[in-house]
């Protein structure tokens, strides 16, 4: 009955993709977030090469991704998703909906620390939020387990006694990015045969059997629905054992609900999850060599919790050390400890001393020595039950008492930030479409403006963000408070304990920057009204976002614009999610090759057109909207000065600048400006303002005889060149048509004040 297996040397994320290849899910809805992003990228690559037929939906955020998956699962599709950390939390609201509706699917949670402060590395703080969702949670401690658990998850979730969505949790980076020797099924049909067809008794896609999915259900009914959910979890443990047995017969790989490692005659044991448990096995081996009676317990399933298995496995133990890769502050135990202790408490014969230690938060390494330390701690408890505190952290650093970081650069003085470099002229009514005009000094004099971002930030060579931002700041007078969305500009300027910002800076996660800053603006105005801030202490509030933040944060940004707070939102558009490895954003041009719109025999690149964010924001009716590119002229500096005037006097301003990303455009670092110029010359990125509802074209390449076909721009970027090949001529034509259509529409708007 053994099915043929082939050896591989792959990472955890690659093994998810291999499992997905064999399962051939109908649908994957996702939103990129480190370290789970690769999963969608790899499956997208398979899709573009025609190796899987899975439909991939790049959602506008994890909340949207979870909704898309819910919808697809309701139709009886096999569905996959992958996420991490805050992405998982952003989708959290949707998860009980899906469990309560009993719609199976598989979600790979590649574990990562939950913000804030923002940390992209592994811990289990996201995973612990999964425990209350009603989903089954499987744990995968190695790339091999990741593969196997994904296949098992499909079968377990779809089992008639279970009917639940399943999370497969593996450790971010430690497992997701670690290559190990492993095996996969040689034949896809063997996996298909193991899984069998998906049998749905209910579906939203059969009009002859209409159903109402998601009713309004109060007491006395809801409690019954939740009891059904409980029973499904109870059944799941038995089903898990059965299907693991069946899987072992085909693969020789076995998974018990609770793995026991060298537990025979053990007096003390460690209880650890995932990759740390694998590391600890080496420490247990060494302790055993020294004659110490110690072992390890590693659950392979966390929901339902393997209570009975734990009771049996721990029966002879005197002490148990529970390692927690997350804390539940104030609980003095952490979420896992509460699970373990409640299981032991239910066993009336248990007299085990248990202690909890939090380790490895935010990706901090858990080494064999750390495991050895925990083993010794457990053995001390065997000798004397109260010889160590009940709870604690390992691996913290004390720091140097009574020292604080030195001020490296002095704070910018108010006098330094006020200059004669920019001025605003009010136009007489009827003389110009512009209400105000900015006058800006020559670049040779603008160099005197102190930079609000200090050098030493860690952006890639040739990154257009920082020259673009600095040009914008050159036009801003006086003191500012900035808020940066999550993204390249945030990550490379604030790697703790360093910060490149010389002015006060706030970060918030990138669906929520605009509301955050609007709250601060209103607090400032109110404190000033109350006299708690001097009336002459003026501040300009500027939010900086990438195009990614304008996808996931579009709704809150529109809401903020409609409320018209006195602030500026500046979008740097590098046409993709560059901080996470170049996935498509909605602003990415049609046909561009990105890591989630790969080019292959079945794909020419991004399949839908770029978002016109400037028009969307102009439609909110705010007084000033602009687009610009960095250059050696002062167009962007002038727009910054106008933006500041409008933010001070009228309300919210939105501006968008196109910036070069040599890394992910695969372009020459030195050619950044030329590429931007061609984007403007081909009318892909028109440079204009919408001032008090009137469209003003600042640069008309057509009128100047400079308009070029989009090819002239595309040919400068490695990620676009494929569009110039004959096989992509239809896509190229479609792109050119859309660019021309939008350009013609913009010209019409510019010509007619009523448009």
């Amino acid at each position: 009955m053994i099915c043929e297996q082939i050896p591989k040397f792959l990472t955890g994320n690659e093994m998810v993709a291999e499992a997905a290849r064999a399962i051939d899910f109908h649908f994957m809805g996702y939103y990129p977030i480190t370290p789970s992003t690769e999963i969608a990228e790899l499956i997208n690559g398979m899709k573009s090469r025609g190796e899987v037929s899975t439909v991939l939906l790049p959602a506008d955020g994890e909340h949207g991704a979870a909704g898309a998956c819910f919808g697809a699962a309701s139709g009886g599709a096999r569905v996959l998703n992958a996420t991490s950390a805050n992405g998982f939390l952003y989708s959290l609201e949707q998860l009980p909906v899906q469990a309560g509706s009993r719609l199976p699917m598989v979600l790979n949670l590649v574990t990562r620390s939950v913000s804030g402060p923002l940390d992209i590395r592994c811990d289990h703080s996201d995973l612990m939020f999964a425990l209350q969702t009603g989903w089954i949670v499987l744990l995968a401690s190695s790339p091999q387990a990741v593969y196997d658990m994904n296949i098992l998850a499909v079968k377990l979730g779809e089992h008639p006694d279970v009917r639940l969505p399943v999370i497969v949790a593996s450790d971010g980076f430690f497992t997701s990015h670690q290559r190990q020797s492993c095996h996969i099924f040689k034949e896809k049909k063997d996996v298909q045969e193991f899984l069998g067809p998906r049998n749905d008794t209910i579906t939203t896609l059969d009009p002859r059997k209409p159903i109402t999915l998601g009713p309004y259900m109060n007491d006395p009914d809801l409690i019954n629905n939740k009891y059904q959910l409980h029973l499904a979890h109870e059944a799941a443990l038995t089903v898990f054992k059965d299907i693991c047995h069946e899987y072992e017969q085909r693969t020789s790989r076995s998974y018990a609900p609770l793995e026991t490692y060298k537990m025979e005659d053990a007096v003390s044991a460690l209880f650890l999850l995932n990759s740390a448990a694998e590391t600890a096995k080496d420490a247990v081996d060494r302790a055993r060599e020294d004659g110490k009676k110690v072992g390890l317990l590693k659950p392979n399933i966390l929901r339902p919790f393997p209570f009975e298995d734990l009771k049996i496995a721990s029966h002879e133990l005197s002490s148990l050390v529970i390692g927690e890769r997350s804390d539940s502050p104030g609980s003095c135990g952490g979420p896992l400890s509460q699970e373990v202790r409640s299981a032991l408490l239910a066993d009336h014969h248990s007299e085990i001393s248990t202690v909890s230690r939090v380790y490895g938060l935010g990706g901090k390494d858990f080494r064999e020595e750390d495991a050895a330390e925990l083993i010794e701690l457990g053995l001390r408890l065997v000798e004397k039950a109260d010889s160590a505190p009940f709870f604690g952290f390992i691996g913290t650093r004390t720091g140097v008492p009574n020292t604080l970081p030195p001020q490296v650069l002095p704070a910018l003085e108010k006098s330094q930030m006020i200059s004669k470099l920019v001025s605003i002229e009010k136009m007489s009514p009827g003389t110009s479409k512009q209400h105000i005009r900015a006058h800006v000094a020559d670049p040779s004099l603008l160099v005197a403006r102190p930079k609000r971002i200090s050098p030493g930030h860690g952006a890639c060579p040739g990154c257009g963000i920082f020259s673009g931002l600095d040009q914008f700041f050159k036009g801003i007078e006086g003191d500012v408070v900035v808020l940066y969305h999550t993204g390249c500009a945030m990550v490379v300027t604030t790697d703790y304990p360093f910060s490149a910002h010389r002015v006060t800076y706030i970060h918030n996660l990138f669906q929520n920057g605009a509301p955050t800053l609007s709250g601060l603006v209103e607090a400032f105005e109110e404190k000033r009204r109350r006299g708690e801030i001097q009336a002459n202490d003026d501040l300009t509030f500027i939010m900086i976002t990438g195009d990614g933040g304008m996808d996931i944060g579009m709704g809150p940004t529109i809401g903020t614009a409609l409320r018209n707070h006195k602030m500026i939102i500046l979008e740097y558009d590098n046409q993709g999610y560059m901080n996470t490895g170049g996935q498509l954003s909605y602003t990415t041009p049609f046909g561009k090759a990105t890591s989630t719109s790969q080019v292959g025999k079945n794909s020419f690149g991004k399949p839908f057109h770029h978002k016109d964010t400037v028009s969307i924001m102009a439609a909110t009716g705010i007084s000033y909207v602009f687009s610009a590119i960095e250059g050696v002229g002062t167009d962007l500096v002038e727009k910054a000065a106008k933006a500041q005037w409008y933010a001070k006097n009228k309300g919210l301003v939105f501006g968008k600048i196109l910036v070069a990303c040599p890394l992910n455009w695969v372009s020459e670092e030195r050619q950044g400006l030329e590429i931007l110029q061609r984007a403007a010359d081909c009318c892909f990125f028109p440079i204009y303002e919408v001032e008090n509802g009137l469209t003003i074209l600042n640069y008309d390449p057509e009128a100047l005889g400079k308009k070029v076909p989009v090819e002239n721009w595309l040919q400068m970027m490695g990620k676009e060149k494929h569009l110039l090949k004959p096989e992509n001529s239809i896509a190229l034509k479609e792109f050119q048509c859309e660019v021309d259509r939008r350009w013609a529409q913009l010209k019409a708007k510019s010509a007619h004040p009523l448009l």
Binding site: D171, D282, P405, S454, C460, G462, D495
Partner: protein, 362 residues
Amino acid sequence: MWPFKKKAPEAAVLRKLLSVRMEAIGGQGANSAGKILAEAAVLGMGYSGNHFSSFGSEKRGSPVRSYVRISTEKKPVRTASYIKHPDVLVIFHESLLDSHNEIMDGSTASTELIINSKKDPQDIRLPRGLKLKRVTTIDATALALRCNCGLNATMLAAIVEACPEIRKEILAQTLATYFSGLSEAARKNNLDGFEVAFKHIKSRRFNEDQCDREIQSSPLPELGWLNAPIGGVIVNPGNSALKDHSASRKGYAPLFTKELCYNCGFCDMVCPDFCFVWDLDPTGVKTPTLQGIDYQYCKGCQKCVAVCPVSALTVSIETEIPTEAKKHRVFSSLNAANIEKQWKNLSSPTYIEKISKNGDLK
């Protein structure tokens, strides 16, 4: 089979467990070098092993560590932790020795050090108190430029030379497979680069006398739970000015000729790294004049060269930048004065007092 000269049989003892740590800057190819090495060991040689890298965000220019563990006894390699005491420590850019003290962490008397450098091994100055077995240098950047191949191809030659556990021809095959997506020419360049590099490996037994480099203490105090401001706040922003990004350059840098400059300011408009040094008249009467480039921050993108309307900025091979040109600083002194008292309340003294009395929570 790749035409290698047969290596003279050595008395090399094969290690049961081989650990390799690579220290680099993102974009130099340490991650792929690690992957190729481990793949050669596991899929090519039949050993067991693992490979992983420690990443920051997906960008060029941030430090990357790449780890390879190989068990020649084919025991399962389970541990997911970083390699603290490597058998082979590989440094992809010599300047990391200046800018990143931590790269030498955990080296022992059995560690083989490989550095990408023009120098002879005995001329590499190492931090005081260091222990090593052997020092190897290879001018991998120049070789890569000459062969038009990746830095990882030339570095891998020196790495495999230090790892007799892995046969060269197996590594060459893995390299060929890895680059199979590239054009025929690019693939050949990388394989040629790998082969040519073997002739340029210089290796010497480690000598304690070469450890005369004072380890520069960090300009920032170590932060821990006793003194880190609560809430993750950074109270001395702008401190990124302490950082040195010269290792981000890929062999080229702009060179400034003052005589040709008419101070138009275009370079300052387009520089992403704010490395132009100006003589500013505080009264604002005189036009600012450009003094030079602060190479501590310049990442060599050459956008400034592209916009310079005269030839005041030109592209130069990095090593040919005269010392005189490197003296310019954006900030004449980076102040290390203690922060104002106003920040003191950020870590609560009562809490600290209480904890100090109780001792460590452990």
